[in-house]
Each structure stands twice: as C-alpha cells, then as structure tokens.
C-alpha cells in the first residue's frame, strides 16, 4: 500500500502563513488578495561551507576590506540603498559580499521597476558576490505584521530581524571547539540610509552603517566617493542648510490628489516634452486638448525633465498663450551661474531678470499687436505633480566655466555643472573630486533629486566614457543616450545557439529529420536576393516564374529565424528586450547573435537555408489569384546589390533565367506600386544621406552624399509590402485577439495647420489633408518648376506632421483603426526582417501556427503579454531610429570638419539650404545635401513678421533682404567647438542673400 498522508495546516497557523492585503484596481474596485506562504527551516544562508546550509557562494570569512571589521564582514543593504545608491553598488570597485533579502527585492520592485530590473540584472550577472536570502520563507526570519504597524516599519523590522539572525547563525555554526583556536566570526553589517532604522538597529545591537560611513571605512574610498548619490540624509556633511534659499518652485501635490484630479477632469496627465529651441518652454500633450498644453517658464515647468509623466493644471482660457518664436539657449543665459552658491540672491535676481527678459520678449510684442489670431494660442498651464520620473543616466560634458579650480592635481571636492548632450535636458549640478580630469570628457551623470530651492537638479557622476569627439566615446554615448542595449551577448544566450556553430548545415533530406517535417523543398527554384552593398544579414530572397496557365508565381522567402529562436528561452528574451538591430554609420548592434544573423539565418547564395516562404499566384496584371505560406528549404542562386541587379536587368544581352525572373519581378512590382498609389499610398520623403568612409580601418568619413534610389529598391520594397500585407491578413484571421500587426494612424488635421498656412501664404498652394489619397495628390501638386528640390522639401515637412507607425496587438484596439495610413493598406504587419526586428519573429511564430506547422506558444495567446512586448519593441524601434540619425549627424559633422580642412588649409563649407522655420531672432534651415538641420542666429533685432513667416535683414553694407520660409539661401557651415562643453557644434551663418556674419 502506498502511504498517503495529507498534511493540513492547522487553522491557527493562518496568521503566519497567510498574507492578506487589499488592492484598489484601476477600475476602482477593491479586491482582497490572499497569498499563502510556506515557511521552512532549510532556506540557505548562502555562505560557503556553512555547517547547516548547502550551496552557498559567499566567501566563508567575508572580506576584510573595511577598517572597522578586520575579522571580515558581509553587507546586508536596506531597500533605500538600492533605491538611491544603485550606481555605487553596480560599480566594479564595490566588491563587498552582499546579502540581498527577499523583502528588499520586493520593496525595490514596488518602488521602482527600472531599479528593480537593474537589481535583478546585478544579481544574475554573477559579477559580484551576491546571495539572495529568502527571509520571508525561513521560519526564523519571517515576520508577521503587528497591529498598527506601517508596511514600511514591518519591512524594516524584517530586515533587522534577518541581520540579527545572520549574526547568530554565524556564531552558532562556528562554535568554539576545545583544543582549536577560537573561530573568526565575520560580521553582518546592515547598511541603511534611514536614520530611524539605524537607531533601532543600534538598540537591538545590530551592527549598522549609513552608506557614506560604510564607504568611508573601505580601503578604496576614493574610487567610490563620487558615485555616492546626493541624498537628503542628515549625515551628508556637504548638505548645506538651504533654508535661507528662496523656494523657486511650488510643491507637488500628493499623488492621491493628482489621481483624483485627473479622474475628475480638472487636471491632465501626459509626458513632458521640453522645447529644444527654448529651455524655458515645454509642452505636454494631453488627450483633452487637440494641442499640447504649453508650459512657460521655470515655475510652470516645475522641475519636470524630458520624458517624465506629469500632471498639469490648465489656466483659464484668457491666460492662454502662443509659444514663443525665439531661440533661448541656456548656455548663454545661464553662463554666469555659479554651481557652488546658486541661490545667492543677487545672482538669482540677475538670472531671473535675464530669463524674464528671454520669456517676455516677443510675448510683449504680441500683446501690443494683441490681435493675435486665437488659433495660435494653445492651452497653457503649469505642472502640479509628477506621476513618474523617467530619469536615467545622461551623457554630459563638464562645463569648464563652472570649475573653481582647474589644477589637475586638485582633489578637493567641488560643485560643477554637467551639460547634457541632449538639448532637451537641464544642466545638472554635481559634486566630484575628479572635476579637472573629467574636463573635456564625455561622462555619464544621473539625476538624484531636484529640490524646491534649487534651480538645477542634483546628480552624481557614474562613469567616464572617454575624450569628447573620440569615436569610441561618441559612439558609446550615442548608444547610452538612446538607451540601446549594446552589451555583448551573455553565455546563457549563446548557449541557445545550435551546438554545431558555424558548421551547422541543413540536414540531408529525409523523412525522419525533424527539420524536413512539413517543409517544402524549394532548392531548385531560381531564388536570388537583392540588398544594399555590404549587407551581411540577408533576410529576404525572391523568385518569380511563369506558370503554364499564363499566370506568374512569385515568392518571397524569409529567413526562418523562429526555427532557431525558440519562445521563452534566454535568447528570445534578449531579442525581445533589444527589439531591433540598431544600425549606426560604422557599427551595427545586433538583435540576435551574429552566428544567426550573418550566417545560419542569412540567406546567403549557394548554400541551403531554412526559410519561411510566401508564394503567390498572380495574374500578369499583378492581381492575386492565390496565396500560400510554407516553411521551406531554399538555396539562393545569387546575392545581388541593388546596383548589380539593376545593371543585369537593364543589360539587353543577358537573357538567362535569373535575369528573366528579375525582369518578371520588376514588371509585377511596377504594377503593384501603381495599384498602391492609386489606392492613396503616400510617397514620403526623409533626408537620407550616405557617409563615405575612407577605409574600413580608420573609418574616417571623407564625404557625404545623398542616397540613390534605383528601380530595384522599389522592386524589393513592393514584394516585401505584399508579403507583409498577406501575412497580416492571415494571422489576423487566425488569431483575432493577439495578432502582431503594425499600423499608422491618420494624423490629426491640426498637425498640418501650420504647414498648410505656410504653403498658402508663401506659395499660394493648398494641401488637402482629408485623406491619404488627397494628401498624396496635393503633395504631387506642390511643385516649383524652378526648384526641383522644393517638392522633396514639402514632403519632408509633411512627413514630420504625421504620427509614427507602431506595432500593436490586434485585440487591443478597435478594428477600424488597423489601417496603415502611409501605405493606404487596411492591414499591415512586419514579417520580412526577422533577423533585425523582433516583431517579425512574433509574426513568424503566429504564421507558423496559422498554417498548422506548429502550435502557438501560450505566451502569444496572451493579449497582455503581446502588448507588453510590442510596447517595448515600439520604444526600441523609435530609439534605434533616433540613434541612427544621431550617428549620421555625428559623421556629417566629422565629414564637414574633414572637408573644411582639406589640403591642410581651412576652407569654408558653403551649401545651399532651405529655410524651414523663421524665428524672431533666427532662421531654421535645412541642408538637403547633407541631410542636416541647423539654426542661424542673429544677434541684433530685425523686422520679423510671424504671420507672413518672413524676417527682414539689413546687412552691414546696408542692403536689405527679406527671408521667408521655403526660400533658398546659401549658408556657410563650420564645426565649432563649444568652449565650455567641448561639444562639437554645427554652426551656420548666412552667406546669401545677406551675409550675416556679425549680425
């Protein structure tokens, strides 16, 4: 007989084993949540060779690096340490063995998700000696909440109890043995910045330290001191009493009030966007208004930083204002501010006056001519609270002017300003001992807090990236600035690759091989790939052939990435987190390990590769007769560049089958494109330039040119669109709730108002934005016969008025918003580049399930899961685009510099440019040849007509000229090095019609 025992917990135990708590859901319901916990006595302490516990990894006798604990110690940090001092803990110089309590990990998760993921990464990385102790599950350390005890107090008590337990545990497991020396017992130190907790710990006889006092006792204090975050803890000796300082900002409202206000409709929630031209102006787009809420001045922006989720209060309509049309640069306005004693009244007054002037100018003018059309005014308000800070580490330069001592030997701590590379961020004040050495370097700085009394946020130094303008530093800073994960793939990820590595091949065809199950053998088809030159990750290939019935069979073959990237393994999670491959001018940050991207999945010619094929039967008029999808094995016959394919197609002497099939594809593509255009697809333009690199090694750019578009580019594009649309239809049909789709929402009409007005006033042209077709037509009408580039310019400006396309989960939005505005397609997805886009991998999995090839992983049935992934992918995608653009910009700068100093003598670079924006004291210009935008600033006042979008300039020679939007001008471009920040700045000045140097 099998002996069955049922161990039922006695009823009285419930107090200990059950954790009950109440939760208010987003819909306003209150739910009671009950968690069971099972207490045990064998939760390991984590210290090596412990007499009682197994599997420890911390050194047996701790480390003796702290002067107060020569007998060795372990560190047990409180939650607040991870909340405020994460950079310190992450530093490679910080080597103390850490015991991290479950209570602490959970509390960190409640308080801040980004910090929680950093903490998790730290624990799993294996770089440090860390043990996670599940104190809530060990019966000796579990605590039950007492009556009237706040959750915070309970957690503190739990942490103290665990520390005390550890200390006794060490004593008990290392008893004194007769005849042997007394065992050396290391100490467990509680590290907390909460003075009350320290007080209680002292009473209970638990050794404890604040972060600062602990660090001060370490042998490598100097390496770590800069990383200490500025906290408002009392024991920070530098924290000067700021009571004498005037409060500059109003206090935030409590969170609950904010939520109530937002719910009640009196307040509005949104993301804060700083204005890159004017640091004293920001805006918050909110759903309640068609225009974003404008925030003018420091007080109203109330310490918000780009990207924060904020709550704004909107002023009554009589106080609504129009945005300023002036460039206000904080570098110049604030250049005299001293980081050590900002808050000095005199100086403050000076700055206030300066800022008020900057804000008031233009505005005053407006009130005088007060009949400003009310259409230009927009909701104006002020920030009353922050829902979520979005602070991260920012790439900065040290402001040289703010240093009090530049002696490189000076090791005294001083306050300096760090100026973020991004114009959207305020400068950050930080205290460092290394100021002189950091000068001229790119450094990473984190914001810690922003007090009511401080004009600037306080931050701390994280690490140096290298000399400014060195390519390594610039590139890393770029990746950091756009939050691109660029670490090399870890072991766990590489372990997911096929063990054969490079030598993996498609197994020989047999009925038993799992790779050949349900796979079609398309190795004999004449398949080729067409890609940009130098492309290594070939993820698509094409073929076309005539069918006996006169129709044409065309096929798109996509690398079968989902064969290698299996759901829910470390490689999959990493790819999902990266979201996309990021292309920089001279570098590529892969989404998948390069073995897959450039070898096993890359559809290289003359080798057998696994593919996922979409095959259509099309009439010669390119109407779809039939569509089918299948997993396949292909062997590409050739890999062409766009140029090679084009030459081959156009060469009348070539008449082989491959060339014929390219011609066939081309003829179909032309018809597909025509049909698409007829349906109202937009032909949008964005400035794309190509950087010529001198040689592969030095990668010094020598010149910039615009990318050329060939017929074959369009050929590939059409077939990819066709494949994407067909796949989208199929997966939406099969998985109506969770299909991974991509959409492009029609832009709100108000986005075009300004452009329409400019076009109307300057050129007498109208832009019909009622539908994408109408817009496409009217864009075609915007032609200036004398100015071939004008149309492109208008297209670029129209593109900027549009929303960006996004991935979404089909179950999450209503079906009538599925459409892709730009492509004029009712449904769309991404399927064709699974090597470099994660959404495509998901689409592959769903399509494979839709055709019955394999069952769908449960996670792809969960709407919530798909949504979470796609939100991240959308964000990564946006960031990748911006990073790519920034990389091009940086190289354009280098190229300009190279061009400027060619032949050893400085020559001026002059280019033609178009005016795209007119400010009161400057003009924004776009240099199409270089694909860059810049601002020409004027020092003197000029006649500015905001309604007609013109500005009249008088040159020093007395010549007067009026410049309007869309005018073609010549600018001289140079790269200037900002004196204070070492930041390379593209500086422009007008050459014609007026030479404005000195104006």
């Amino acid at each position: 007989m099998v002996d069955i025992t049922i161990r039922k917990r006695p009823y009285a135990d419930a107090v200990v084993t059950q954790r009950k708590f109440l939760k208010k859901t987003a819909r306003g319901k209150v739910v009671k949540i009950l968690r069971e916990r099972y207490l045990r006595d064998d939760v390991a302490c984590g210290i090596e060779n412990c007499r009682e516990c197994d599997g420890g990894s911390l050194p047996f006798s701790g480390v003796a690096s702290h002067k107060d604990y020569p007998q060795g110690h372990f560190l047990l940090p409180d939650t607040n340490v991870f909340l405020h001092q994460m950079d310190l803990i992450e530093s490679p110089h910080f080597t103390s063995p850490l015991i991290i309590l479950q209570t602490v990990v959970e509390e960190v998760r409640h308080r801040s998700l980004p910090l929680h993921s950093r903490l998790k990464a730290l624990i799993t990385s294996g770089d440090k000696k860390i043990w996670t102790f599940y104190n809530e599950f060990r019966s000796q350390t579990a605590v039950v909440r007492e009556d009237e005890e706040s959750p915070n107090d309970r957690n503190d008590r739990s942490i103290r109890k665990a520390t005390a337990w550890y200390n006794t545990h060490l004593e008990l497991t290392r008893p004194v043995r007769r005849g042997q020396p007394k065992p050396v017992i290391p100490t467990i130190i509680l590290m907390t910045d909460d003075a009350a907790n320290r007080q209680k710990a002292k009473e209970e006889g638990i050794p404890c330290h604040s972060t600062r006092s602990y660090i001060e006792g370490l042998s490598n204090f100097d390496d770590l001191s800069d990383l200490l975050a500025a906290t408002d803890s009392n024991d920070l000796p530098e924290a000067t009493a700021s009571s004498r300082n005037v409060t500059l900002y109003s206090d935030y409202l409590p969170m609950s009030t904010l939520v109530a206000g937002v719910k009640g409709g009196q307040l509005h929630q949104g993301h804060f966007n700083a204005n890159q031209y004017n640091y004293l102006e920001g805006s918050v787009p909110v759903p309640a208004f068609s225009k974003p809420v404008l925030l003018l001045g420091r007080e109203n922006m109330n310490r918000a930083v780009q990207g924060d989720v904020v709550v704004v209060e909107v002023f009554p309509e009589t106080e609504w204002k129009a945005p300023t049309d002036e460039v206000v640069d904080q570098d110049s306005t604030l250049k005299n501010d001293d980081p050590d004693n900002s808050g000095d009244e005199e100086e403050d007054a000076e700055i206030d006056a300066e800022e008020a002037k900057a804000l008031g100018r233009g505005r005053q003018e407006k009130t005088q001519s007060s009949v400003k059309p009310s259409s230009e005014r927009q909701p104006t308000g002020r920030i009353v609270g922050i829902i979520k800070r979005n602070w991260r580490a920012y790439v900065c330069h040290i402001d040289g002017g703010s240093l009090s001592s530049t002696l490189s030997t000076s090791l005294s701590q001083q306050s300096v300003f760090a100026i973020p590379v991004s114009r959207l961020l305020p400068r950050i004040r930080l205290r460092t001992r290394q100021a002189p050495t950091l000068l001229g370097q790119k450094i990473l700085v984190t914001i810690d807090r922003w007090d009511l009394t401080s004009r600037y946020p306080e931050g701390h130094f994280v690490r140096a990236l290298g000399r400014a303008e060195s390519k390594e530093a610039e590139q890393e800073s770029l990746l950091l600035e756009y939050e691109v994960p660029y670490r090399p793939f870890g072991k766990a990820i590489l372990d997911c690759l096929p063990p054969e590595g490079d030598s993996w091949v498609v197994p020989p065809k047999s009925s038993t091989s799992p790779d050949w199950q349900n796979r079609e053998d398309l190795r004999d088809l004449l398949i080729c790939s067409i890609d940009p030159p130098g492309c290594q990750d070939i993820d698509d290939a094409l073929h076309a052939r005539m069918l006996p019935n006169g129709n044409i069979e065309a096929g798109v073959h996509i690398a079968d990435v989902s064969r290698f990237v299996l759901p829910d393994n470390p490689m999959d999670s990493e790819a999902a987190a990266r979201g996309t491959t990021v292309y920089l001018v001279d570098n590529r940050i892969d989404m998948l390990p390069s073995l897959l991207g450039t070898n096993l999945c890359s559809l290289r010619p003359h080798v057998e590769r696994l593919a996922f094929s979409a095959i259509w039967e099309l009439t010669p008029e390119a109407k779809i007769v039939q569509t089918r999808f299948t997993k396949s094995v292909i062997a590409s016959k050739a890999a062409f560049t766009y140029e090679e394919a084009q030459i081959r197609k156009d060469d009348p002497h070539r008449d082989d089958d491959l060339t014929k099939s390219i011609r066939l594809l081309n003829s179909l593509a032309l018809k597909l494109k025509a049909a698409r255009m007829a349906a109202g697809a937009l032909n949008l333009a964005s400035p794309e330039v190509k950087i010529h690199l001198d040689s592969a090694e030095s990668s010094d750019p020598i010149d910039v040119e615009q990318k050329e578009m060939r017929e074959t580019n369009s050929l590939v594009e059409e077939f990819m669109l066709l494949a994407n649309i067909s796949v989208a239809q199929k997966i939406q049909e099969s998985f109506p709730q969770t299909a991974v789709l991509r959409r492009h929402l029609p832009p709100p009409r108000t986005n075009f108002e300004k452009l329409q007005d400019i076009l109307q006033k300057r050129r007498g042209m109208t832009l019909d934005v009622s539908s994408s077709g109408a817009l496409a037509d009217s864009l075609d009408q915007c032609v200036d016969p004398n100015e071939p580039a004008f149309n492109t310019l208008v297209r670029i400006m129209a593109t900027r008025c549009m929303l960006s396309a996004e991935y979404f989960c089909s179950g999450s939005v209503s079906k009538d918003t599925f459409g892709h505005y730009g492509l004029a397609s009712p449904i769309y997805t991404h399927f064709t580049s699974p090597i470099r886009r994660y959404a495509d991998v998901l689409a592959h999995r769903q399509l494979a399930a839709a055709i019955g090839y394999q069952s769908l992983h449960p996670s792809l049935h969960s709407k919530q899961h798909v949504e979470t992934i796609l939100t991240n992918v959308n964000r990564r995608h946006r960031m990748a685009q911006m990073a790519g653009r920034a990389s091009v910009e940086f190289y354009v700068g280098l190229a300009l510099k190279a061009r400027g100093t060619r032949d050893g003598k400085a020559t001026e670079v002059q280019e033609e440019a178009f005016v795209i924006k007119v400010f009161r004291n400057g003009v924004g210009v776009f240099v199409s040849k270089l694909g860059i935008e810049g601002v020409v600033m004027f020092k003197n006042d000029h006649k500015f007509d905001p309604d007609a979008y013109t500005i009249s300039l008088t040159s020093s020679a007395g010549k007067e000229a009026t410049i309007a939007v869309f005018d073609r001008v010549t600018v001289s471009i140079s790269v200037e090095k900002d004196k204070n920040t070492q930041r390379g700045k593209v500086a422009m000045s007008l050459i014609s019609p007026v030479n404005t140097t000195g104006l």
Partner: protein, 314 residues
C-alpha cells in the same frame, strides 16, 4: 426526505407525551450543540460556518465598491446589502435541480426581506458621499440540512457579518487653485462632499467592523404541535409539527435588558388564531435572548483568540 405517516405520528406522540420524549433525549427547549467558527474564508471580507445537529451553513461576506451610474442603475448612496442563499445538491440529494432552485430562492427572499430594512444598514458603508458606497454581498451556502435551517442560516449570516471588515478608505479630491498666479493659494485636500475618489488607507489592515453589528437579527423557530411548542426541530420532528412560527429579533446593548426589536414574523402551517402569536411572543423573546447572548459570547471569544494568536506569534 419523505417520512411515513406512522413515523410522523410516532414522533408527535413522543413530543406531546409527558414528560416529552425526543429521539435524541433533548428537552423541548434544548438546542442541539451549535458549533460556530468565523473567518473560514480568508479571501472574503467576513465569513462564518455554523453547524447545528445535522444542519450546516457556510456564509461568505464580500464588500464591493458600487458607484454612481452603475450598470443596472441601482446605486444607493448609503450602501446596500444583497443576500443570496444557495442550497447545495449534497444537502438535498432527493431534490431535482429546479426544486433546489426554488428552495434557494425562498430562503434568499426571507433573508433579503429582513436585511433590506434600512434600519439594519450599517452607517459606515459610505465611501465617497453621493458617489461611491460599499455593497455587502452575503452569500450563504447550505451544505447540509438536518432541520431548523432558518435559525442556523440567520445565525451564520450574523456571525459572518460580525466577522466582516470593511476596508478603510480615505477620500481624495482635487480642488483647483482659486487665484491663479498666486503660488501659495493652493488648497489641496478637503474633506467636503466634493471628493471625487478614494484610496485605501492601509492595504494590509483588514479594515473596520460594520457599525451596529450587534443589531443584526436572530431567528427563532417555534414548532407548534397541539398545545406545546419546541425548538430546534430535527427533520423528522418538523414534519410531525403542525405548524412553525418564526420570530426574527434584533438586539443591541440597550435592548438586551428591555424588549428587542422585532424584524419579522413568519408563520407556516395549519390556520391558527392570531392571539396565539401574542402568547408565543414573550417565550420566543426569551429564547432569542438566550441564543443571542451565547452566540455573542462565542463571537467575542473567537475575535479575541484571533487577536491573541497574532500576538502570541510575535
């Protein structure tokens, strides 16, 4: 459960004989042992299980936020109590599902009738005045019926409500600045009726007890047989009785000595002159008072032992 005529008359004979004889040896006014425990469903806001002889009723009480303009437009600013009784097939193996539904419905109606009295509504169900309030859902499950079900049902519901904790909430509201431009003119938190929403005060604490929870009623079923009456009838005994007279009383600290409040009277069975009700009433009142005080004592013990359990565990 069907019984034969002879069984019924045999039982009746025993009851009216002098001294009365009951199959389990009780006197006419004795209850079978009552076993009562509270907090049996940790997920619920309040719960109780009462066993008496062969009858067993489990009750769970859930508090739910109701808001103005809810789906069925039934919002009540002062809160509501909703009752539902479910008789399980295991309690009535002989009943067909429709018959079971009917029985459940009948019991639900009796319970709802009593608890729909606004006088019984606890005063602490208002969350946001005029906008949000608590609805108390009482779900009773009859898992076994060994007679005298109504008394057991009311006792169990009462114990569950006694055990119920309403989550403590705090009202929040946003009051816009009256004078714009003046930075300090910000008044943020007001405890007026302008509140728009609420938040949970402390997500770990269970909350507060229902106000006036001692007034929740107790039912006493008098089983009448010729000139005698008896309490806590078993199934067979209730078949033998000619009629049942049910009194539902509320007690409170002040009425314990004096007269309790009557919440309902039900009568089932052969026709009876009305004045008989009056003669039975004082008796019923005394029985109810006894039941009330003993149950109250038990509830007090349960509550303090739970608190002590927590303290002892420290």
């Amino acid at each position: 459960m069907s019984t034969s005529k002879s069984e019924q008359s045999y039982t009746a004979q025993g009851l009216i004989s002098n001294p009365p004889l009951r199959s389990d040896g009780r006197s006419l006014l004795d209850y079978r042992p009552i076993c009562m425990s509270t907090g049996v469903y940790p997920q619920a806001n309040g719960s109780a299980k009462v066993e008496c002889g062969g009858s067993e009723v489990v009750v769970g009480v859930m508090c739910e936020i109701d808001h103005e303009g809810n789906e069925d437009h039934s919002f009540s600013a002062n809160g509501r109590i909703k009752c539902n009784v479910l008789c399980t097939p295991s309690a009535y193996p002989a009943h067909s599902p429709p018959a079971l539904d009917d029985l459940s419905y009948d019991l639900s109606v009796i319970l709802s009738d009593v608890y729909s009295d606004p006088g019984l509504l606890p005063s602490n169900l208002v969350v946001v005045p005029g906008r949000k309030s608590w609805t108390i859902h009482i779900d009773a499950l009859v898992t076994a019926d060994g007679g005298n079900l109504l008394d057991v049902l009311f006792l169990a519901v009462r114990a569950a409500l006694w055990n119920c904790r309403v989550p403590s909430t705090k009202n929040i509201e946003y009051k816009g600045s009256s004078q714009l431009g003046n930075e300090s003119a910000f008044v943020t938190q007001h405890r007026t009726s302008h509140a728009a929403d609420f938040e949970i005060k402390d997500f770990w604490e269970d909350g507060e007890s229902l106000a006036n929870r001692e007034t929740f009623p107790i039912a006493i079923t008098l089983n009448l047989l010729s000139s005698i009456h008896f309490l806590d009838a078993t199934h067979l005994e209730s078949m033998a009785a000619q009629s049942r007279l049910i009194f539902i009383y509320s007690f409170s600290q002040s009425t314990l000595e004096g007269n309790p409040t009557i919440r309902g009277i039900k009568y089932f069975g052969e026709a009876m002159p009305l004045k008989n009700v009056h003669t039975h009433m004082p008796n019923a009142q005394n029985y109810a008072r006894e039941l009330y005080s003993s149950s109250q004592m038990q509830l007090g013990v349960e509550e303090s032992s739970r608190r002590q359990g927590r303290v002892a565990w420290r």
